[in-house]
């Protein structure tokens, strides 16, 4: 497992985090290629189901990124997202996959550097954790 390159799905809200991700590009803040972004209208739209599905399909980690606390365009969607992330973390802890594989992040639209840094740091964390056990099980089943 020397050259493990994690795959991360990042659900990013249109108002802040998705813009921050674009800004990372515009401002030239690199992050690992394994971080792939799915746009959602609000982080509060991200369902536990969507997080689990991404892990089921082979993502090693899932990041939910919304506006800064108190700055949600839809008042408190990001707080609801954070609650759901905590719920999924507990669930993953229980089944042995590990709660650290899911991360809630907050940033403002201008914080390209924060997006890049958060994504990079999370990617490193997952790299240290190793492959998603669900993925290993799936490839064993396939083999």
């Amino acid at each position: 497992m020397i050259d493990f390159q994690p795959v991360i799905v990042a659900f990013a809200c249109s108002y802040c985090a998705y813009t921050a991700a674009d800004m990372a590009g515009v401002q030239g803040f690199a992050y690992p290629e394994g971080v792939k972004i799915v746009q959602v209208p609000c982080s509060g739209k991200v369902d536990s189901l969507h997080i689990l599905r991404a892990l089921q399909k082979g993502a090693d980690g899932v990041m939910v990124a919304g506006c800064l606390e108190g700055d949600c365009h839809f008042r408190n969607g990001n707080r609801r997202a954070a609650q759901r992330v905590r719920y999924v973390q507990a669930l993953l802890e229980d089944v042995g996959i590990g709660g650290q594989r899911v991360l809630m992040a907050n940033m403002s639209a201008g914080q390209g550097a924060v997006f890049a840094a958060t994504a990079s740091h999370f990617w490193e964390t997952i790299r240290a954790l190793g492959q998603n056990p669900a993925k290993l099980a799936a490839s064993r089943a396939a083999a």
Binding site: T19, D22, P41, H50, K57, D71, H73, R80, A109
Partner: protein
């Protein structure tokens, strides 16, 4: 060409200045079906707002509420934004102006620039500019997602043509040979929103320390230091030594309220709130670790509920307020402390030891104000701001040219936005009634049929060549060809204006595509453009998806073409999967009744009614009293000495005579139902309580406030105790005044800023000064003493305050816990009060005592009104707006607006402006034959709904309700499309269009294909 012809043809307005006021005016005009030219001398629009990280009172960032909502507003398509452009000449007259525009060369090709910043790094002359909203060093970078264009510009005047930037610019975007462009456009009217500049405190360095000590900064610089996105990356440290400051002092009125040049004699109006916001924010972040002190002369938080904010800082957050006159700033050689010498209220000299000083700098007119005024042919006031009248507060000296925002002098965001909307309605009055705005007009019918096999075209848009240079585009295109449903893979020709988009429309038709993917740009910047383009090709707007190969691939993985290529394939696959699952999103159509109900016939309601009727809207004006005019009927003159009665009579007359306005007097609203575009309201009028129903598309509530009736200070017990209104009436009558005007004492804040009514009355200080000056005019030898807590005289009212002092009016401060005392005597009223500098109590024998009482909410009327229209009230009883900061005349209920003192105390000109603003906002709805809701909204599958109320509680805008059938119902006209209800619904009975669970998971699956 005759004027009339032009008037029929001209549907365009020129907006000069693209700060928030200019943007708001443009949006309202475009929303009302007008063409707008938005010119700004800067390289990108935005003005000051993108520089501010947060705004009080909630310390939120509000910019996404102000800027065009790209998902829903079709309006911005009618706005032609012209950066780096000045209006140099305006010929003709209202209705048929010809404006000459000069656009400076940008020096950089927008199509090619990818904002990499290399040119900025190498330029030796600092001739390269980056837009403030995007500047890495600026506080907020891009809390402003719609900031366009996202590119650099070169100041060709500074540029020495050294060519270093040409060498480093990889996309080859730099073009030094660009020329200025001259252009003439025809417009019917002009809105001037050219803003103000921050006062530069450098010349005052001797006094305030700016430039001498690095830890003396301006409030805007402090905002940058505090910002998470600022130059220190969110570390709150002071410039000199990088240590966290623990004792911070704000000095107010730097560059304002001073007769010594270069400071300005006027009050800059907004610096008090600016400083308080920063102090609150710092205290909220560091609490006990930080000592925040504000050194001030008068605190002037005059906006709606601002006084309560001030009290919260003082009482709850522990911000120290020091009333004083700061006179010099120095440094302690031993400790390094910054020393602020100031004279306290008791006249003693004091020194404050601080780590950092923040200068609450004021605003001044832009350096080019005079030149611009000359180009426009309008008059300026002595300070270089646009001169305006009381009764037509936004009209300039030239017909058809209006001004708003800081162009008229310093003012805050809500006032600027209110004026902008008001200007929109005034500017529209010079144009022919617009053709009904129909976003769907001239579009082919939609051809998508459900069940059709997908025929997907994938277009690669790589106009700057950035993508091709960073990955193997051929490999991506080959991989794309093999994706399910893809029948066409093609590179798009570079976009040159609309032409490239027409090619796309043709190509879609030729290949009989029913779904489209555009790979290249971010949906954030280009999504709407392509949605509109495919609609022109007969496809539903939901049938396009963008793969973000630029910002989220090649630009973040610039040195790894292999990985960028693989990721590009993943991103295209995700877009193909997403568009395959796309379902058409049909717009919900709500026919609009082209009439308005205006409740309240004061200046706000009268102005609103007239503005609407002038633009062809049928207006029903309902007034509770038997006459029109409201509170203004009790006023005799304005602070500037203008008579009120004639102007008011003229306004009333115009309304009564207008064929498009039906006035219903002696009337009350009794019931109300319907939704935006189609309301029905029941009104009872006359002694017989005759009942009628009015059908209307929009509603404007302008029922005003009432004057507080004091019980303090012997009012009602002694005839020599008057209110300011009663005094004004006597001064106007002008009889038997000599004895009464011998010694007049005025007491401010009677019935305001206390426990019962924490609000500030906003205009009572100005009324007192107005009447004091009037007394001096009638009887120069009269003694006038004003006992006040803070004199709140915004902008040029400050000059009237100074004039009053010059004429001998005495102003003596009292504090809330030591109010004046009044005793009745035979010959006079004995008023005693404390004088701080003499430190003793003084007694004055007053011939007349005048109480300055505030406007307060008309509780009974407003409460009933709010019940009928389902609106909320603030704790002080005024109507609660949708957003006090950025939607100052909108209520949360779509189609219902409020204006004037029903929202908060207002002067005549402010009430009038608000009425016009409400009309401007209402016109954006009335311009359409039917209101359509374009964005994806949440849909309930009633068969799955268990009516558990989760969605009702989760919705941030309170849209879902349980209907008569027992299922959750979501009004598509009100849904904002966040999808929180869909995520929370335990039965998965709600799906958000465009982001259904199937689509989100389909996209995720495609993104992860091959990972397992």
């Amino acid at each position: 060409m005759s004027d009339n012809e032009c008037e029929k043809r001209c549907n365009a307005v020129m907006v000069v200045g693209a700060g928030i006021a200019g943007i708001q005016a443009s949006l309202d005009l475009a929303g009302a079906g007008r063409k707008v030219y938005l010119v700004d001398k800067k390289p990108a629009p935005g003005g000051y707002l993108p520089l501010l990280d947060r705004q009080f009172p909630t310390n939120d960032c509000n910019i996404c509420y102000v800027t065009p909502d790209s998902a829903k507003a079709g309006a911005p398509l009618a706005i032609e934004s012209l950066p780096l452009t000045r209006l140099t000449k305006l010929e003709g007259q209202a209705g048929s102006f010809e404006a000459t525009l000069v656009s400076l060369p940008r020096g950089i090709d927008l199509e090619r620039c990818n904002a990499c910043g290399e040119c900025l790094k190498v330029c030796p002359e600092q001739a390269v500019r980056f837009t403030p909203g995007l500047d890495f060093g600026s506080p907020t970078c891009l809390r402003y997602p719609q900031a366009q264009p996202q590119a650099f510009s070169i100041d060709l005047e500074k540029c020495t043509r050294c060519g270093q930037c040409l060498a480093v610019c990889r996309p080859g975007a730099i073009d030094m040979d660009m020329l200025s462009q001259h252009r003439k456009v025809e417009v019917g009217s002009v809105v001037l929103a050219s803003g103000a500049e921050l006062f530069d405190p450098t010349p005052l360095g001797d006094y305030c320390g700016y430039g001498r000590f690095p830890d003396v900064v301006t409030s805007l610089e402090f905002e940058q230091i505090m910002s998470a996105a600022g130059p220190t990356g969110g570390e709150f440290v002071r410039p000199s030594d990088g240590r966290r400051p623990r004792r911070i002092g704000w000095i107010q009125c730097v560059g304002s309220r001073s007769t010594v040049e270069p400071a300005k004699p006027y009050c800059s109006s907004i610096c008090c709130m600016f400083a308080m916001k920063e102090a609150a924010w710092a205290k909220e972040r560091f609490a006990q670790d930080l000592e925040a002190s504000i050194f001030f002369m008068d605190m002037r938080p005059m906006g709606k509920d601002y006084e309560q904010y001030y009290q919260r800082l003082k009482n709850d957050l522990g911000v120290r307020f020091v009333r004083c006159r700061p006179h010099s700033v120095g440094r302690d050689a031993v400790t390094g402390d910054i020393l602020l010498d100031h004279v306290g209220e008791d006249g003693t000299s004091q020194v404050a030891h601080l780590d950092m000083i923040v200068l609450a700098t004021g605003f001044c007119a832009p350096a080019d104000a005079a030149g611009q005024a000359a180009a426009l042919g309008i008059d300026l006031d002595p300070h270089g701001f646009v001169k305006a009248a009381d009764f037509s507060p936004l009209a300039t000296s030239r017909g058809g040219v209006y001004a708003c925002g800081m162009a008229l002098g310093p003012r805050d965001i809500p006032d600027s936005l209110t004026q902008a909307s008001a200007c929109a309605s005034l500017a529209g009055g010079h144009l022919a009634p617009p053709k009904a705005l129909d976003m769907e007009q001239d579009l082919p019918p939609e051809s998508s049929q459900p069940g059709q096999a997908p025929r997907i075209g994938v277009y690669f848009a790589d106009w700057g060549g950035r993508i091709k240079s960073s990955l193997d585009l051929n490999r991506v295109m080959t991989a794309t060809e093999g994706m399910p449903g893809v029948v066409l893979t093609q590179e798009m020709a570079p976009l040159r204006g609309e032409e490239g988009l027409e090619d796309l429309v043709r190509s879609i038709g030729e290949h009989r595509l029913n779904r489209v993917v555009v790979a290249g740009y971010s949906p954030r910047t280009h999504g709407r453009i392509f949605a509109e383009t495919i609609r022109r090709a007969g496809l539903n707007r939901a049938m396009v998806e963008l793969a973000n190969l630029r910002d989220q691939d090649v630009m973040v993985h610039p040195h790894n073409p292999e990985a960028a290529t693989a990721k590009a394939i993943d991103l295209v696959r995700m877009a193909v999967a997403g568009v395959t699952l796309a379902q058409p999103i049909y717009t919900h159509q709500q026919p609009v009744v082209k009439s308005a109900l205006v409740v309240g016939g004061g200046v706000a309601g009268l102005g609103a009614a007239l503005a609407l009727a002038d633009q062809g809207v049928r207006v029903h004006l309902v007034e509770r009293a038997k006459t029109l005019g409201g509170m203004a009927g009790h006023l005799r003159r304005t602070l500037e000495g203008q008579p009120v009665a004639e102007q008011l009579a003229e306004l009333v007359d115009k309304v009564v005579q207008h064929p498009g306005i039906k006035v219903i007097l002696d009337a009350l609203v009794v019931d109300h139902q319907g939704q935006v575009g189609d309301f029905t309201t029941g009104v009872q009028s006359g002694p017989s309580m005759y009942y009628q129903q009015i059908q209307h598309g929009v509603t404007i509530l302008a029922t005003g406030a009432r004057q507080y009736q004091p019980s303090e200070y012997l009012y009602g017990q002694d005839p020599r105790v008057l209110t300011q209104l009663e005094l004004e009436e006597r001064l106007a009558a002008g009889q038997d005044l000599d004895q009464a005007l011998d010694t007049v004492v005025m007491i401010q804040c009677v019935g305001s800023r206390n426990q019962q009514n924490p609000a500030c009355g906003r205009i009572c200080c100005q009324n007192a000064v107005k009447n004091a000056l009037w007394i001096k005019e009638l009887r120069p030898q009269a003694r006038v003493i004003v006992l006040y807590r803070d004199m709140r005289m915004p902008y040029r009212a400050e000059e009237a305050y100074r004039r009053a002092r010059e004429q001998g009016v005495l102003f003596v401060r009292y504090s809330e816990d030591d109010p004046p005392k009044v005793e009745r005597q035979e010959q006079s009223l004995l008023v005693t009060f404390s004088e701080k500098i003499l430190a003793r109590r003084l007694a004055v024998e007053a011939s007349t005592l005048v109480l300055s009482t505030p406007q307060v909410a008309d509780d009974e009327a407003t409460e009933e009104l709010c019940e009928i229209f389902h609106l909320q009230r603030t704790p002080t009883g005024f109507i609660l707006e949708d957003n006090v900061k950025v939607r100052p005349v909108d209520t949360p209920a779509p189609g219902i607006f409020a204006a004037g003192s029903v929202l908060a105390p207002k002067s005549i000109s402010e009430a009038r402006t608000q009425g016009l603003a409400a009309a401007g906002r209402a016109l954006t709805l009335l311009a359409q034959d039917s209101l359509s809701v374009a964005g994806g909204v949440a849909k309930v599958m009633s068969e799955r709904c268990a009516s558990c109320l989760v969605c009702v509680r989760a919705c941030p805008v309170a849209v879902p309700f349980i209907n008569a059938d027992g299922y959750s119902q979501i009004d598509p006209a009100k849904c904002q499309g966040c999808g929180v209800c869909a995520a929370e619904c335990p039965a998965k009975a709600i799906q958000l269009q465009g982001y259904t669970d199937d689509q989100i998971m389909g996209r995720t699956d495609a993104l992860l294909e091959g990972v397992l």
